[in-house]
Symmetry: D2
Subunit: 306 residues, 4 copies
């Protein structure tokens, strides 16, 4: 039975994602995303389940930066989890008593409208996780009066749900990924996604245009692009890309080899089945048999059979 680390404590959305991705895995709660990934890196767990992006907030920067800069890990699966927030309090607390709300910054942002409308005088304080906020609020001595977290966290820590569905949008989704230590990627399924980190070789104008052309010329469709600063001063970025297809496919292999040749560095993060099971529309001339046929043709003309 594999053991998987996740952003704990029990009751987080990450735990919910883990239960979907690996129902029978042993669960190892970690203090934060970095700790969960380190548990996987050091072999304390067989892998980790961490959030990669949120439909409202964008990329989860800790995860993006850990995957880009830390010891390599491989994404092997993804799941999309609808995120619903509840306002949770200790038994006996009423709405009018709430002076200090505790939650993860993304959750606070996503419930901004509710807070402004219903709890205009409360102070929102950011903590490391939604379930951790629930755990903290459950302490009788907590300086916080309410947590914003998943209902499951409230049940877990004995809190009362004063309101549910309090996010500004009802359709917020978070994408979680399952990562493992380096290994061959899972077999192609025909509906796969590949994730990369690309560092430009220099910041000449047009470098990003060149990168995108490497994809476009091989008919590889991007599904996500996320810029991140390299930390070397304002105006220097690296990029996270997600795109359709699997590294075992020829068009993907040629496109990322092209990036590898012209960029300062490319880090492969994994090829894995898409959660939505959508197959890509393959542009004419870019399917694997097209590449194989072209390779045969090239070999023949190099050999004089024209």
């Amino acid at each position: 039975m594999p053991k998987l680390a996740y952003l704990g404590p029990e009751g987080t959305f990450a735990e919910e994602a883990l239960r979907i991705l690996a129902p029978h895995a042993e669960r190892l709660p970690s203090a934060n995303v970095s700790a969960a990934l380190d548990a996987a890196r050091r072999g304390e767990a067989d892998g980790a389940v961490v959030p990669l992006e949120n439909s409202l907030e964008g990329g989860i920067t800790t995860t993006l930066d850990e995957l880009a800069w830390g010891d390599p890990l491989l994404i092997t699966a993804e799941v999309l989890l609808p995120v619903e927030f509840s306002l949770l309090v200790r038994p006996g607390t009423e709405s009018g008593d709430i002076k200090r709300i505790f939650s993860h910054p993304a959750a606070l942002t996503q419930c901004r409208g509710f807070i402004a409308r219903e709890l205009p005088d409360a102070v929102a304080v950011a903590g490391p996780s939604t379930a951790g906020a629930a755990q903290e609020v459950a302490l009788p001595s907590s300086p916080y009066d309410a947590a914003i977290a998943a209902r499951i966290a409230g049940e877990h820590y004995g809190l009362v749900e004063l309101a549910s569905g309090i996010g500004d949008r009802s359709d917020t989704v978070t994408r979680f990924v399952h990562v493992t230590r380096p290994a061959p990627p899972p077999e192609p399924t025909g509906a796969d996604r590949t994730s990369l980190v690309v560092f430009l070789s220099d910041d000449h104008p047009g470098a990003l245009l060149e990168m995108l052309t490497e994809f476009a010329v091989r008919g590889v469709n991007l599904t996500r692009i996320e810029s991140r600063p390299t930390g070397d001063g304002i105006g220097r970025y690296f990029f996270h890309f997600d795109f359709e297809g699997h590294v075992a496919e020829a068009r993907v292999g040629e496109a990322i080899s092209g990036l590898h040749r012209v960029c300062a560095d490319v880090r492969f993060l994994g090829s894995y089945p898409r959660a939505d099971r959508l197959s890509p529309q393959i542009k004419r001339g870019t399917a694997d048999p097209d590449f194989a046929e072209a390779a045969g043709w090239l070999a023949r003309i190099r050999n004089g059979q024209i």
Copy 2:
């Protein structure tokens, strides 16, 4: 004397930026970025000074999203501010006493290494601003033992500086911008920057490539690209662009008109002098006189003078 709102309380890096951008302005501290921008929108202040991006953390998402979705504001100036963090405590607190550290999430991230090394057992709690963290820690009843903030904040609130320069990198820079209510942009200086928000008309593969080509064809160099989710599910983004040049210049006008024609929406955020005073290298055929000459030529051939 103009009145400018900023992310308060007194002692924040935003205050420091404001003092550089407008030394003689009256200062109006606000509870957070949204409040500062709203003060400018409602006329309670003549403008606001807010952080736009950080060389380590990337775009400040609240500012990016406020400028993209809120009532329009115009960026009229920018400043780059080196950011140096100190560990601040109440008089009498010693290093070994620190159990809970309070600061802005970006500051906590930037001091991750210091915390792990020097205060491995402390819990880091995120709050709305670095100066606010100092203010909170200064309260005798505060549940926090230390704040991470600018030295100036410590002086302001009577805290002791236990350590300085504790950021993981010594060269962290934050870009602050001065925004006002809608108005004609400041005159071109020859070393200007323009900021835009672009919403793709649909998410067809290649839409981003098309956008970048609109810039490249007119010789307009990008200096920043930042993707942000639209909130409508995973995989839908809009983009913040910064690029060289001023909206009054022909190549910039034609490029952004091109974006306006082919994208769902383009929001102009302003043209303003670059903090680094760097003049762009203008590609052959794309200076204002080239456009004027070409317009004359087109008028002549339309009129039969070929």
Copy 3:
């Protein structure tokens, strides 16, 4: 009644084209394409009708080079003419008597198969026009035994048609254009074509790619590209382009202004109704109202109305 010069003598395909383009015009036969164009330039005629390209042979190089290098002329109309060749002899000549065939080089090329098959021992000699060949062959003292020309030419000069439809392909088409001295182009019809000559500013790799991008970015579709040497050594070219749309349209105006800015020289050859009356498919965001709307938007943001 206008007077139009054409590649004479009477009986050429050019005369046929002229009769279609301008049924009531007075006709002025000229010795060759250059002479016909010069007659128009000098005012001896009001215009000229000359072949521009042939579906089998490609561009008519004399016409292409005259329009590119000679005094400017304006294309105002085009017609597509199916070209059918006949083998024409003096009365009394039989197939077995034919030793020397005379015709225009393009006609000889297009009847290559027939000559090789039916008259394998005959020598083919190239002359300046098909009708001129018929005229020459009609002379009793002619050193030639047969002409390849239009049937109408045989009738005109009293020759006998030994064979008809002798071209290697039955669907050969020649495009003729009507040119005049410089004048405003005819009004747009919604199904127009525009012709240009473009000289690259230098032969850097990618210059042609840049030119095509100027068209693509404004949604202007090319219908013909023809490279011609500049005469300055091997490897230096200029280009004839035909594309959909009219110079009065905004997307065409902006595209050719862009070429004018970045290329060494652009010569406008005319905007005129397409012979096939096909309307272009206008790419989203590139119709005239889109440009007008974008111009209004740009004016507003430059004026502070954001």
Copy 4:
């Protein structure tokens, strides 16, 4: 001793080119370019030397079309030959006697200025080769009074040179190529050229842009592009490309494989040393070791070594 066919008779520029390319070869004069190529195809000769393009006239259409449509041949070498024209007459003929001038159409075009200035009343008649024109004029019964050809042709056929260097430009150059039956191309020299014919898969707008992007993305620089009609009606073209590099090189192999995948047909015409011995400037990341390194990297990540 190899036997090479060429555009005869003796005294043509083609013979001169052949003597440079293969000084010790046996020479087989042919009636025209097609006959020379057929001699090579049928094994009557070991190869052929034919003109491919002229700096003044552009591509030699017969050669271009023969190489594109006829049985495959391989270009193995090229030579650039300065072309100088002389006015040649039978002994006793004087300038004032010249009524009819005979030459190849390209030569007549290149001497247009001289003829108009010095022999304004003479008729120019086009024949199949310059040396053939000299041979014809040498006949006492010839209907022609003068030939325009190379001086060597005049010597060969006993003509008198009335004027030399009569071309409108002094720097006309013709490129001749040596072709053989299909075989492996000659070894790379580091300064090679490759020739291709490409048929677009359909005439969608942007197909040419796509083709050029296949080259650009792999850093392959074009040195010649020549459009030719397919014969299927107006507006349908195929393309001759020359570009830097050798088919044995990785960037060339990948670029032409890409064309092969997305175009209707690609015909390889050969990789051979450049006459000018210029080495290409190799774009960063596109040299053979870059491709080899990238292939190794791709193999490793596919195998799990990330």
